[in-house]
């Protein structure tokens, strides 16, 4: 009889997010509930939580780019990014983001996952460029349209990263797959795995890319 009580943490997460409680609080309560109902002691749960938090500090290192980005914004970087887009004929938001999608997929496939990202490229460059391009073809954006353009800029970064990186042989997820299969006696090489990431990468490019171009057309529709 499996112990279904350990699933209570998942319930805490779902309810907590639905009630829009502070996510840090929700996550901590979920960890405590799971640990305590999973028959761990309080000290043990807090220690495990702290150790894992400490092991994952590298995730938050990326914030060191903020002083540079902020400094450049002080001197008009976002305004410059917009000005450049306004001078390029034929630049639309969809085409611009399509180009960025391709760039992100290709660089990620070469293993260069941290060359771009939300802090490094999306906020200072891609999002203001996309917004300027959308305004160029569409005129002033309504509040919600602007949110969609910015959201799509971040979404494009994610799609490009996720469905490019697994083509690179030395990425963590490929090594994880290899490790799991190895523990069941299947010897797979990273290259064998990474080639099978290519069909999905192509699908992702066409699905997200056609959405980007359709988004252009939707924004351009007059009289709405």
């Amino acid at each position: 009889m499996p112990d279904y009580l350990v699933l209570s943490g998942i319930l805490v997460v779902v309810v907590g997010f639905a009630l829009k409680l502070n996510p840090l609080l929700v996550v901590t309560l979920a960890a405590l509930a799971t640990g305590l109902l999973g028959k761990l002691g309080l000290v043990e749960v807090i220690s495990a939580f702290g150790a894992a938090f400490n092991d994952n500090r590298y995730i938050s290192v990326v914030w060191i780019v903020l002083p540079v980005i902020g400094l450049l914004e002080r001197y008009g970087l976002q305004q410059r990014a917009r000005a450049v887009i306004e001078t390029i004929r034929g630049a639309t938001m969809g085409r611009l983001l399509l180009l960025y999608l391709l760039f992100r997929q290709v660089t990620a496939a070469l293993g260069l996952t941290s060359v771009a990202g939300h802090a490094q490229t999306v906020r200072p460059l891609v999002a203001p460029m996309a917004e300027a391009a959308a305004e160029k073809t569409h005129g002033d954006l309504e509040e919600d349209e602007r949110e969609q353009v910015l959201g799509m800029s971040a979404a494009t970064d994610n799609v490009g990263l996720f469905f490019g990186e697994d083509i690179f042989v030395a990425i963590a997820s490929i090594l994880l797959i290899q490790g799991v299969f190895q523990s069941y006696g299947y010897e797979l090489t990273p290259l064998q795995l990474s080639v099978w990431a290519i069909p999905t990468a192509i699908c992702a490019f066409f699905i997200h890319g056609s959405r980007l171009l359709m988004f252009d057309r939707k924004l351009r529709r007059p009289g709405k």
């Binding site: 998942i10 799971t34 290192v61 914030w63 002083p67 980005i69 939300h118 959201g151 697994d166």
Partner: protein, 316 residues
């Protein structure tokens, strides 16, 4: 050798400065909350490796208490106005892009140089973290270039960094917290229970339905955990290997690789994947914290369908 630890010290210095400037910012009514929050992160970066697991856990609980009690405010340090920025952007022109590009180019060119030339053998950088370390180096170079070229007030990078940091707020540590939650889930055996449930509903003699449950299970479990890495070992052990590979004779490389990518489709649809979905919404100052996920769902669902078909046709 330059290791990840060096980057942690750099991050520790940045967060110490954010914390100090927050403490002296009288315009922010919650300045001590901000100072404490960024200060605790600075302690984590400097000393996390020396603290006991329990002490790190208490540090996390303090961070959560500050955020949960609403003690974090948003600062607005003095900066240039929009009109001034338009003028400055005209004055400096496209050269403004150069410092911004120093960071990715250092990471890009540096990684290639390091991996494909003799530098690689030098052991200068810690193997696993080459690109991230080069990113940090790029930040330092870009910062020096900006200070010399633009001649801003000495504290401007700290103040501008703090402005952005405060606009992200508690969301900045959410990804790290979720990774920690994943570790507690693993310790309590959540994965095995979920895997048992998924494995229990597999019908006999239908490869397609088994593929469907495997891929949907990967996506759903990834949405719960916020991370395909946590879901993959569970789903592979519960369905992928025993049913798809052993019983039905599927190609293990296809089942492994595309199964993981089915999980990534789940990552696009969950607030639990905070660093990809919630943090950018804060960083772009969107009104809805779900503003990024909303734009991803229509890519994620058809792509998940593609993955199911790809596994079915390529593996069997």
């Amino acid at each position: 050798m330059i290791t990840l630890q060096w980057l942690y010290i750099l991050a520790g210095i940045a967060f110490t400065l954010f914390s100090l400037m927050s403490a002296f910012d009288r315009s922010n009514g919650k300045r001590f909350g901000n100072a404490a929050f960024w200060g605790l992160l600075a302690i984590s970066f400097f000393f996390g490796g020396m603290l006991s697991d329990l002490a790190n856990g208490v540090l996390v609980l303090l961070l959560v208490a500050i955020a949960g009690l609403g003690l974090l405010g948003r600062s607005d340090p003095p900066t240039t106005t929009l009109e001034e920025r338009l003028g400055l952007s005209e004055r400096f022109g496209n050269k403004l892009f150069l410092p911004a590009l120093i960071i990715p180019i250092t990471a890009f060119a540096g990684t290639i140089l390091y991996n494909y030339t003799v530098f690689g053998g030098s052991g200068l950088f810690e193997e696993r973290w080459v690109t991230l370390i080069l990113l940090g180096l790029g930040v330092l170079i870009a910062l020096i270039v900006c200070m010399i070229w633009l001649r801003p007030p000495l504290l401007a990078p700290v103040e501008e960094g703090r402005r952005l940091m405060d606009s992200i707020g508690w969301a900045a540590v959410l990804p790290q917290m979720l990774a920690a939650l994943g570790a507690v889930f693993a310790l309590a055996g959540v994965g095995e229970v979920i895997g048992g449930i998924a494995g229990g509903i597999i019908p006999e003699d239908s490869i397609f339905i088994a593929v469907l449950i495997y891929a949907l299970g990967m996506a759903l479990f990834t949405m719960i955990m916020g991370n395909a890495f946590a879901a993959f070992p569970v789903m592979a052990a519960a369905i992928g290997i025993p049913f798809l590979v052993v019983d039905y004779g599927g190609n293990p490389a296809v089942i492994g690789a595309i199964g993981m990518l089915a999980g990534f489709c789940g990552t696009l649809m969950t607030p639990m994947a905070a660093n990809f979905n919630i943090v950018p919404a804060a960083l772009l100052e969107l009104k809805s914290q779900y503003g990024v996920i909303r734009m991803q769902i229509a890519t994620a669902i058809p792509l998940l369908a593609c993955n199911i078909l790809l596994i079915y046709f390529l593996a069997f």
